[in-house]
Amino acid sequence: MPTAIPLPSNVSPATVANTASLLRIVALLLISGAAIASRLFAVVNFESVIHEFDPWFNYRATRVLASKGFYEFWNWFDPTAWYPLGRVVGGTVYPGLMATSGVIYNILHSLNLPVDIRNICVLLAPGFSALTAWATYMFTKEMKDESAGLLAAAFIGIVPGYISRSVAGSYDNEAIAIFLLMFTFFCWIKALKLGSALFGTVAAVFYFYMVAAWGGYAFITNMIPLHALVLILMGRFTSRLYVAYSSWYAIGTLASMQVPFVGFQPVRTSEHMAALGVFGLLQIIAFAELVRSHVSSQQFKRLLYISVAAIGVLGGLAFVGMTYKGWIAPWTGRFYSLWDTGYAKKYIPIIASVSEHQPTAWPSFFMDLQFLIFLFPAGVVFCFRQLRDEHIFVIVYAVVASYFAGVMVRLMLTLTPVVCVASAVALSSLLDTYIDVREPEVAEEPATDNSTQGAAPTNGTNGSQATTPASATTTTKKAKKPAQPTSALGDLVSLVTSKTGKETVGVFGIDTRLTVILNALGMLVFFVFHCTWVTSSAYSSPSVVLASHGADGSMHIIDDFREAYYWLRQNTPQDAVVMSWWDYGYQIAGMADRPTLVDNNTWNNTHIATVGKAMASSEEVAYPILRKHDVDYVLVIFGGVLGYSGDDINKFLWMVRIAQGVWPDEIQEPNYFTPSGEYRVDERASQTMKDSLMYKMSYYRFAELYGGGPATDRVRNQQVPKVGPTLDYLEEAYTSENWIVRIYQVKKEDPLGRDHKTANSFTHGKKRKRSKPAPRRKAIAG
């Protein structure tokens, strides 16, 4: 057989196989190394620190778990969160992440490796990303072959869409969840392929782990039933499907109910009903198949089909009825907002206010996936070409996940694995075709047309288009020039309509191979550069520590958050309650170790609205609220000096909106706008805005900083009034270096029983208006 390049001839097939498997192992190891290393930018650029908000809670919980053991963690009641309601942490948390770190911590310590729990937490996500790469390799191997698997592993190892949630220090549930997701899917595919109850059980076990680790487990809970349902609808019901699904569902559901936070949800809520419904459907169909194999009467079969359909419809109606009756909880807001995209903004502003829950614009897709985003549809086409059961899974996954990722930025994370798998399939098909060194035999030109003509009618067994290629190709002889595209089109059409496809010939020549391969390689290299740049510049900021770059490229670290939190830790009593907007609750609890009113676990809307009301009201109204909740310090984030746009004034409208939801009579959003409907902080700001606690605390003494010059808020680019707001009920306790964090102390009640406004004006030596005992005069006279 002719080859494009000379091949060595004295190599035994066993050697080739062994070398290939060795190379695969080496490649996987290298991919793991790259995956871990690329996630360490944050540690190298900053330090080994926990990032953002939620990770701080996870870290704190992990410390409790590591120091007190699992049972104490399970029963942990945190009296410092949601003061004074407290939080039953054990029952309101997905413990998988903490348990994982705890196990690693204990193993290392039993090996006499005294690793700090913080380092385990920081490095857990990179470590698990290596496992994710392996799981993706296994999954993709089931789709195509090992080479596609390696490509997919490499993609997921460095793709920014996944790195965004798994850099070192991003100690969040997603860090381990994606590995569990991929591995559960792999086990499911394997179980489905083999009809193996064992793999079904393994899938269930990993499903349980996933349930224990991430609220996004509902994605698996609905993805696998959807796949099963599509297979049934396509008439691909097999006993393999039955065994795989039944073993997965029965064991997985029972196991998932052991997680305290999940409890009876799998049988009580709508999110889980699809899985139950498909389980029931499978039982009915299996029964029907059994009966069918024993009974031959045609009518009986028809009767069976009708009864299966009727039972399905009845089951659906029963589900609706039970939802209506309240036995099954309807969709929760978070899930519901995926379908009715306007729902959250109207009814649950807390969900709508989170930036992760915003819809995704196309640049985000390109930023996170780069060239994979357009290889992905090509990969889906390849899946359609073969359309085995597992390919259907990828197709369903692709469609569903791309919709979800479009609705919510956060769900980009679930889209990323399938994009990697599909594009790896596409790219490896391309490389397979062009790296293949076998040189095809040159055929006569008319033969091509003939073969096309001959092949199409015989192979195109079904479909109305079967005649099109023939009619199209008959015209080729008339015009030589359009022959090229026409024949290419003809090839495509014949490919589309036939099942087996036309005999693939191969690629001629070395230059064509090199062109395509070099092009592909160039794109891969570009992808690596892109990923490195995105990871280092966009996704490796801890957000606890900020960095600014000078004109000469020098980096300046802005460490206001930790500075302020440590101030709280060192200078306030242990039980001093700190009020802030909920975004900072976990950080205050984690870094300052002080009780907080509200935090990122937004379970109690009223409590959050209370904080929102306090922030949005005037001092006189807010003070009783603060005293009632024993608030000692109020913390606000203010970016006006530095131009830090994620500050509280920019989030203020959400506070107003959430408070308005609970107290529509007292807080009204339009009052915070200027008469012309603008949101301003300068002279023209509305009086309600200027009186609000948030405004006062943000701009207190701000104008003094500019020493009489125009005081410009650098976030909103507005000049604030020269005479700043005054505070009577609070006093400034601390302001960080760049003014990002400002902490105010709530004054105790005046010892003389005056209100603070009067007391304050007395302290400043203002003359009090002579009061007269007017209402008592009669009594005195009498």
Binding site: Y71, W74, N75, F77, P79, Y83, P84, L85, G86, V88, G90, G91, S239, P260, L290, S293, D575, P595, K628, H629, K748, E749, D750, P751, L752, G753, R754, A759, F762, T763, G765, K767, R768, R770, S771, K772, P773, R776, R777, A779, I780, A781, G782
Partner: protein, 439 residues
């Protein structure tokens, strides 16, 4: 244990008893003009006899300063220089209020004139009549001027003895501040006026008393206890303290009670009488003696407070069981439980209550907030979380769950029977089943 602690208390009491009679300290600064100092010699003598250490200072003298580096130099301050228009610059209304926040007690005499002290009085919810007004009373008939008024002492815990107190000076109306403690009010016939010229009185009478400050609601000597626990006493005029008034005789030949009255007032002001404190509080699970860091919902909790009163005679703190109207609150945002906290018979000073925690988890506080006029405020707040039951704290066996138990048992049995039958069975049906499966 109890014995030891009381011994320690006794010991400390003995030591302090030799030093002072007040529970907060024995140093007193008296701001008075040197010329007038001798007018009040009996009063000062009485204080010195009780063990107070008096320091005198001219109103305009620069030293000794009353407050240095945010630390008060004296435990108590008496301002008798009521007429002074100007004080040294460290004595201002602001610094005097700052003193009260630093637990210094004040005894302040007012004057009919407009002085810095008049504006200070307003901060304590005292409402002064127009400048120049003094208390007049023509009853009972007597030889003295109508501005020197004998007032009968009401029965309050602060003042015990009977007899008239001679008063002259400015009366004041009391605001609605609950922290005020009226000690001596004007007689019913008393009124405040700038002058007693006939025109003024007739005019006022024509208006039916409108515009006239009169009656027994006017305060003459009024205490004020700040939330921090400092005591401030306002006296309408310094003459009450004078030797002259102490030696006076009343209209019916009754001896004036001024000498004892001013000592009583000083004793209250300087934290000698009616001083209570919460020594300690503790809480247990009922019928145990170990204090828990947190309780479970529906636990029975026993809460105890130990309260002592200051005994000025011995200068010691002694357990005090005399409070019968104290309340205990178990609070999370709002009181979930509010109950009487009564003395335990047989254990002096101990007040106790056993109650069931609410069926609600959260961070609760045991709150004692006992405020009675004249007495020191008793305030105590102890934070304790109430948590839901532990994972193994729930009942293990529920009769309502029998359907589930039955389901689990029957499935297990069925599996066992099926396996046994299948293993023991013939190979023929097994083959058939296998064929089905591989299909």
């Amino acid at each position: 244990m109890m014995l030891l602690s009381s011994l320690v208390l006794l010991l400390s009491g003995v030591i302090s008893g030799t030093l002072a009679k007040s529970s907060t300290g024995n140093t007193v600064l008296v701001v008075v003009e040197t010329a007038k100092q001798s007018n009040y010699s009996k009063f000062f003598k009485g204080l010195e006899n009780k063990g107070f250490d008096l320091t005198f200072r001219e109103p305009k003298a620069e030293s000794p300063v009353i407050i240095q580096d945010d630390v008060p130099s004296f435990s108590h301050v008496i301002v008798l220089a009521s007429d002074a228009k100007n004080f040294a610059k460290d004595i201002t209304p602001q610094t005097l209020i700052e003193l009260t926040t630093l637990k210094t007690n004040l005894l302040i005499a007012l004057s009919p004139k407009q002085t810095p002290l008049s504006s200070l009085a307003a901060e304590f919810s005292l409402i002064l009549p127009t400048p120049g007004s003094v208390l007049y009373s023509y009853f009972p008939e007597r030889a003295d001027k109508p501005t020197v008024v004998p007032v009968n002492i009401p029965q309050t815990p602060i003042t015990s003895q009977k007899g008239p107190v001679f008063f002259s000076g400015v009366p004041f109306a009391l605001g609605d501040n609950p922290l005020l403690v009226p000690i001596l009010n004007a007689p019913v016939e008393g009124f405040a006026a700038e002058s007693t010229s006939a025109e003024v009185l007739v005019e006022a009478a024509d208006r039916g008393g409108e515009g006239l400050w009169a009656g027994s609601r006017l305060g003459l000597v009024t205490g004020f206890q700040t939330l921090d626990g400092a005591r401030v006493t306002w006296v309408g005029g310094p003459e009450v303290f004078s030797d002259e008034y102490a030696a006076k005789e009343g209209p019916n030949g009754v001896k004036a009670a001024n000498a004892q009255f001013v000592q009583d007032v000083a004793a209250w002001t300087f934290q000698e009488s009616l001083v209570l404190r919460v020594d300690k509080v503790n809480h247990f699970l009922a019928n145990t003696t170990t204090s828990l860091e947190q309780y479970t919902t529906n636990d029975n909790i026993e809460f105890s407070a130990y309260i002592s009163a200051y005994d000025a005679k011995t200068g010691t703190w002694a357990p005090y069981s005399g409070i019968t109207d104290m309340q205990l609150e178990f609070t999370m945002l709002d009181p979930h439980i509010r109950t009487a906290l009564l003395p335990v018979p047989g254990v002096p000073g101990k007040y106790s209550k056993t109650f069931r925690a609410p069926d609600r988890h959260g961070v609760f506080k045991f709150v004692i907030n006992y405020k009675r006029k004249g007495y020191s405020y008793l305030q105590s707040s102890t934070i304790v979380p109430v948590v839901p039951p532990r994972h193994d704290g729930y009942p293990r066996f529920l009769s309502a769950a029998w359907p589930y138990y039955a389901g689990a048992i029957s499935t297990s049995l069925g599996f066992f029977v099926f396996s046994a039958l299948w293993l023991a069975g013939d190979s023929r049906p097994a083959k058939k089943g296998k064929a089905q499966k591989t299909e």
